[in-house]
Symmetry: C2
Subunit: 343 residues, 2 copies
Amino acid sequence: MPKPGSRLRLVDVAERAGVSLATASRALAGRDGVSEEVADRVRRVSQELGYVANPYARTLAGGASSTVGLVVHQVDDPYFSEIAGGVIQVAADQGLLVQICHSGRDPGFELRQIRHLIAQRVGIILVAGSGYTDPRVEAETKAELSAYQNLGGRVAVIGRHSLGADAVLPENEAGGRALGEHLLGLGHRRIAVAAGTAGLTTVTDRLAGVASALQRHGLDLADLPVVHTDFTREGGRVAAEQILCDHPETTAIIALNDAMAMGVLAVLRAHRISVPERMSVVGFDDVSVAADLAPSLTTIRLPMTDMGRMALALALKPRSTRPRRRSTGHTLVVRDSTGPAPA
Amino acid sequence: MPKPGSRLRLVDVAERAGVSLATASRALAGRDGVSEEVADRVRRVSQELGYVANPYARTLAGGASSTVGLVVHQVDDPYFSEIAGGVIQVAADQGLLVQICHSGRDPGFELRQIRHLIAQRVGIILVAGSGYTDPRVEAETKAELSAYQNLGGRVAVIGRHSLGADAVLPENEAGGRALGEHLLGLGHRRIAVAAGTAGLTTVTDRLAGVASALQRHGLDLADLPVVHTDFTREGGRVAAEQILCDHPETTAIIALNDAMAMGVLAVLRAHRISVPERMSVVGFDDVSVAADLAPSLTTIRLPMTDMGRMALALALKPRSTRPRRRSTGHTLVVRDSTGPAPA
DNA sequence: AGCGCTTACGAAAGCGCTTTCGTACTCTAG
DNA sequence: CTAGAGTACGAAAGCGCTTTCGTAAGCGCT
């Protein structure tokens, strides 16, 4: 709350440049109605003085709100912090502010966060993280975002389909299929899945991919143990314990994200089950530590940082009539946590 | 940039409550000069209507700016994202917005970010991450922050001493000492240090702790290999390669943060050097993955999330005459990456 | 009854910007 | 040489809020 007197205002710049407030504003905004010569002078003076517009005044006066709200499930999860990194990069380039909110994978809380952002008049809202399979939950969020968009707000989502907004879509199903194929190709048949929280579309989609790979080999996902626990490291631990206990014959575990895979690996280590000799493990996302685990983790690489960048880039374009969709691409990264099925 | 007409304004609330704009403002701000009865009525009406103040207008009008700027070296580094998590938690409780900036460990860029935040009129600035040993660099930043504080801005820093602001100080030296003692206690004498970028106070402090432990055992840090590389996983790799090459007799490597330790472990694994049998490794910070590495990492635990919380809490208190300091505490967490020195 | 003093409230002045509207000036056409 | 169109700019009206200032009412006191 620095005091007024001391700060540089647009009037000061205008005065120094010998033009009116209005002209200065136009010059800096790049609007026309100002001669190149004058505009140049204003810009130079503003540079020299180190003028930075007061975003509050600017927004209040009806200019575009220069802040983007980013809703993530959890900032201190590498998946999301890498996405946030991408968003912040682009935002910095554009002179935008990024405001980050946790949702804690609680749909109700997420909705509250979104409402809050809207009330705060942010100009852009980015929602990252899996959607919910419960249509009622999604409908409410969608309605809120649609109203916001109709009022001129811009929205882009990462990893959710049904929100009526531009979307960056990780190839969850294709990735799941690739993981399935990889393990089946290695001869694994007794495969278990450490799946994240039931009710998340990401989980559903990745699972569908796995199922389709199985099908091509004449297997059915329904016959395999699929354990739904939290989409976190701890969830991975719980799932692994349960799999080991109920299905000791398992030779490969598919964790539906890297966090869970880390939990799975920890449990296997504790049980002195060697990976990949006795058990193969795969993850999903390729967070940056995945390569440094021991054994290093076979996983599906998603370009998280790029996804963040893409999402903001989408939101910065003018709205199109129908929501745009960008697929992310994915790569199977084979490392040391997978090997041939034990004989 | 939702259009004006549609949004609920304070006037609307005031009208509905049958009071003037001024009274409504006072009532909601909890200022006195309003009877309890009227204040209550206004609050109730505002609740019913779901009124949320426009922060831009509020800030512009001279109210406290409700956003806190957080400057970190790198968002997608777990150390910082955990700190950010703590800050965001407290901020959410207080109805504050958090605005995150990368500095990329570039002091010049960091200074620019800080200037930007000040120009943006944020009410609180939090700077996380090591300071720089070069006094000129720090002086400039300090001057900027002091001016900001004199204008009424609040500042708190995490892990830097010399910025003339309230500070949360991780026990870098004590932690370094604890690591040194631990390894010396295990019989290690040929110890190497994978140190972060020279010029970071965090590196200097942790190193000093190690040195003091060595001294108590009659050793001198100057006689040991200390390799300065980036304070990242990649830096850890480079340092480890160099240590293995130049000092193959080494039995323990101290990495000055967990990221570096991960790089070190990766290299050791690649060289098939068993940890901890042939080489012990320690890290610093205890980021959440440290426990899940293989071998799990012996390290110093710092309560990052709490540190974020504490920093914001400090900044929320009224400024005291002299900067406050809070130490964080630290714990040596012994895991599987350290063992007795090979005979 | 008159004086000051406090309390509860309203009117109105900004905060720093964008934008509309109006004005002076230049240019081309008739 | 002037009418009409176009261009470059300034004056001023807000945006929605906080806060200062002014005023009317209520209180106790002499």
